[in-house]
């Protein structure tokens, strides 16, 4: 057991999977260059020393090529872990992910498998509109992709291992303010949660959420950074006598609906917190299925706390306004009473 940041836990997962299975390899921009950073957020730092530059493969700035190479390699017997520096660049490779990776198994009637992992950092961090988006909902909308979003070091290691071992394309969303990247790659204002991570091999199953806090009055759901916003709000609300249950879905698709329904049936109130833009978003889907499947248990309208329907702004004061805060979560919870 060791205390680790999420970046360190992801690195350990990659190292262990690459030692275990010679078909696992990494590809991406700036991931293995000597004297470089180990990717934009240090996750692959030092791995090329152990595994060499063929298995920690630096690519040109060619996002379509990165995704396509991962798909092709996966079709031909490898288990690639591809990396984009910022989640926003997934749009550059959208055809490869949405039309190719996601549909190969289906179009081939289940005879072609694409066991690839696509890692992508998300979250607004004073870089302006094109290095800031929370894109998770786009990918949960595409049949054929699995989507995970670990918010703790333990889950980061366990979910990345599950993603590597899964025989389908898995998108792993990581939040820039949660990595705990060090040195020149330190993020200003980061939460950088540290967590206990077992040294031994373990996995966190894809499709299973977790209860982060128990409570009887309101169910709060958050992912990545907004899971911590929900926890912070729950602490403050507890001082006022409102006990919130906090759910971290960990996997966004396939979603652990049972965990959410069980909680909502107990509390009768639901507030969903997301950094994504609200319209047609991730929280909307959760609100819709809960309304559909547990309407009779609800004591109040379901509330969503999201980014507004704007691009992410640059100015820190505006960004603070944009990303859901504990205060906005608290207000939403109170509005359900």
């Amino acid at each position: 057991m060791a205390l680790m940041s999420i970046a360190e836990a992801l690195r350990q997962a990659i190292r262990e999977e690459m030692r275990r299975d010679p078909t696992v390899f990494c590809l991406g921009e700036d991931i293995g260059i000597q004297g470089g950073w180990g990717g934009a957020f240090t996750v692959t730092l030092g791995l090329s020393d152990e595994f060499g530059h063929e298995r920690i493969l630096d690519t040109p700035i060619s996002e379509i090529g990165i995704a396509g190479a991962a798909i092709g390699a996966a079709i031909n017997g490898m288990r690639p872990i591809a990396d984009v520096q910022y989640g926003d660049f997934l749009f550059c490779m959208m055809d490869q992910l949405a039309n190719q990776a996601a549909k190969m198994t289906y179009m081939s009637a289940g005879t072609v498998k694409v066991p690839m992992v696509m890692r992508a950092p998300v979250g607004a961090t004073a870089r302006g509109s094109q290095h800031a988006q929370s894109l998770e909902a786009f990918f949960t909308h595409i049949p054929g992709l699995k989507v995970v979003a670990p918010s703790t070091a333990y889950d980061a290691k366990g979910l990345l291992k599950s993603a590597v071992r899964d025989d389908n394309p898995v998108i792993v969303f990581e939040h820039k303010l949660l990595y705990g990247s060090k040195g020149p790659r330190t993020e200003r204002g980061a939460l950088s949660p540290m967590g206990e991570v077992p040294d031994e091999d373990y996995t966190v199953p894809i499709g299973k959420g977790i209860l982060r806090r128990e409570g009887r009055d309101v169910t709060l759901i958050g992912k990545l950074l907004t899971m911590y916003r929900a926890l912070g709000a729950a602490d403050k609300l507890a001082q006022e006598g409102i006990e919130c249950e906090v759910i971290d879905p960990r996997t966004l698709y396939p979603l652990d609906k049972d965990l959410i329904l069980e909680s909502v049936k107990k509390t009768g109130r639901l507030v969903i917190v997301e950094e994504d833009n609200q319209f047609n978003g991730w929280a909307a889907e959760i609100a819709a299925f809960v309304a559909d499947e547990a309407f009779d248990y609800l004591d109040a309208p379901i509330k969503r706390v999201s980014a507004p329907q704007t691009p992410a702004p640059f100015a820190p004061v505006m960004e603070k306004f944009y990303v859901p805060s504990e205060e906005r979560v608290i207000a939403a919870v109170k509005a359900t009473f």
Partner: protein, 319 residues
């Protein structure tokens, strides 16, 4: 040698008659969907695929029937797929634009123009990493050559010296747009030097020339010397798809290319060089027609998939 040439002839004729049959079935309303026919370009697929191993890969396009037959996907399975039957090579989940069979090294054809190139690079990357000795032939058209995905792919293949052959089938029109409106260079192969790989131009209506060229490019890939861009100058003797009246090109141009038909051309050589006789060619023709009638009968007799099968195969479910 003679057997080889006869087999090239048979393969090209099989593709031609298969597609003519598809077109007739389509016009009779017996098969759904659209069709992008390969008529005229048969020498390219056959020239390359006749030299590939079963475990070598190809990536194909929205015009994939010729590639599929040449790589060894069974005409029965392709025909049944066109009929949208349970016995089709994609069990009714692919259709004309996604035929393939991974068992013979053909993932479902990729109908997004140019999108197969980066995947071919990945297939070749895996071949290199696994030291499997496989190569990948990546087919695309002059239209595909202008996609960003193809540029990224060719650069990556070159810097990593991957065993991939980029086979551009320049049939002079991207749908209706002539190459003069889409390229500032006279030959697509001229672009190869920009990526640091050999660029070769070949008469795509001459299967023997294509094969010679393919032989060199495959040998180069197989011996770890890296990728080649091969431009096959060819012509689609029919429309882009089923609804194309071909008003953007002249009848004179079409006749000119019809005179270069790769199948009659090879047939003439075979007879002239006394490798066979006209009667020998007729026998092949009969043989091919029997195979196609068998494929049609098989497809027609096959059951349709169940509607509920829609829900299966979204994710990999085998161990």
């Amino acid at each position: 040698m003679t057997n080889d040439y006869l087999s090239l002839y048979r393969q090209m004729l099989l593709i031609r008659r298969f597609e003519e049959k598809c077109n007739a079935l389509f016009l009779q309303g017996r098969i759904p969907s659209t069709l992008h026919l390969y008529v005229g370009q048969e020498a390219v697929a056959v020239g390359f695929c006749s030299l590939l191993r079963r475990d070598d890969f190809i990536t194909s396009t929205h015009r994939p029937h010729g590639h599929a037959i040449a790589k060894g996907v069974s005409p029965r399975a392709i025909m049944a797929e066109l009929f949208a039957k349970e016995t089709g090579c994609c069990r009714g989940k692919g259709g004309s634009m996604h035929v393939g069979n991974i068992e013979v090294g053909m993932p479902p054809a990729i109908a997004i123009v140019g999108a197969g190139a980066p995947i071919a690079v990945g297939i070749a990357l895996a071949a290199k990493m696994r030291e499997s000795g496989q190569v990948c032939a990546c087919f695309f058209g002059d239209g595909g050559a202008n996609e960003g995905a193809v540029h990224e792919a060719m650069n990556m293949a070159a810097i990593w010296s991957l065993p991939v052959i980029f086979v551009v089938e320049n049939n002079l029109y991207a749908a209706s747009t002539p190459v003069e409106k889409a390229f500032a260079v006279p030959n697509i192969a001229d672009r190869a030097s920009a990526y640091g790989m050999p660029g070769v131009i070949v008469d795509g209506m001459d299967v023997l020339a294509v094969r010679e060229c393919a032989n060199q490019a495959i040998a180069r890939a197989r011996s770890k010397e890296g990728p080649t861009l091969v431009e096959c100058k060819t012509y689609r003797l029919v429309g882009h798809s089923r609804s194309d009246a071909r008003n953007y090109r002249t009848k004179e141009e079409e006749s000119e290319w019809l005179a270069k038909d790769p199948i009659t051309r090879l047939g003439r050589i075979l007879v002239d060089e006394k490798m066979t006789t006209q009667a020998g060619l007729d026998e092949i023709e009969n043989d091919v027609n029997v195979e196609i009638e068998d494929a049609v009968a098989y497809a027609e007799a096959s059951p349709e998939p169940l509607p509920e099968e829609t829900l299966e195969d979204v994710f990999w479910s085998k161990n």
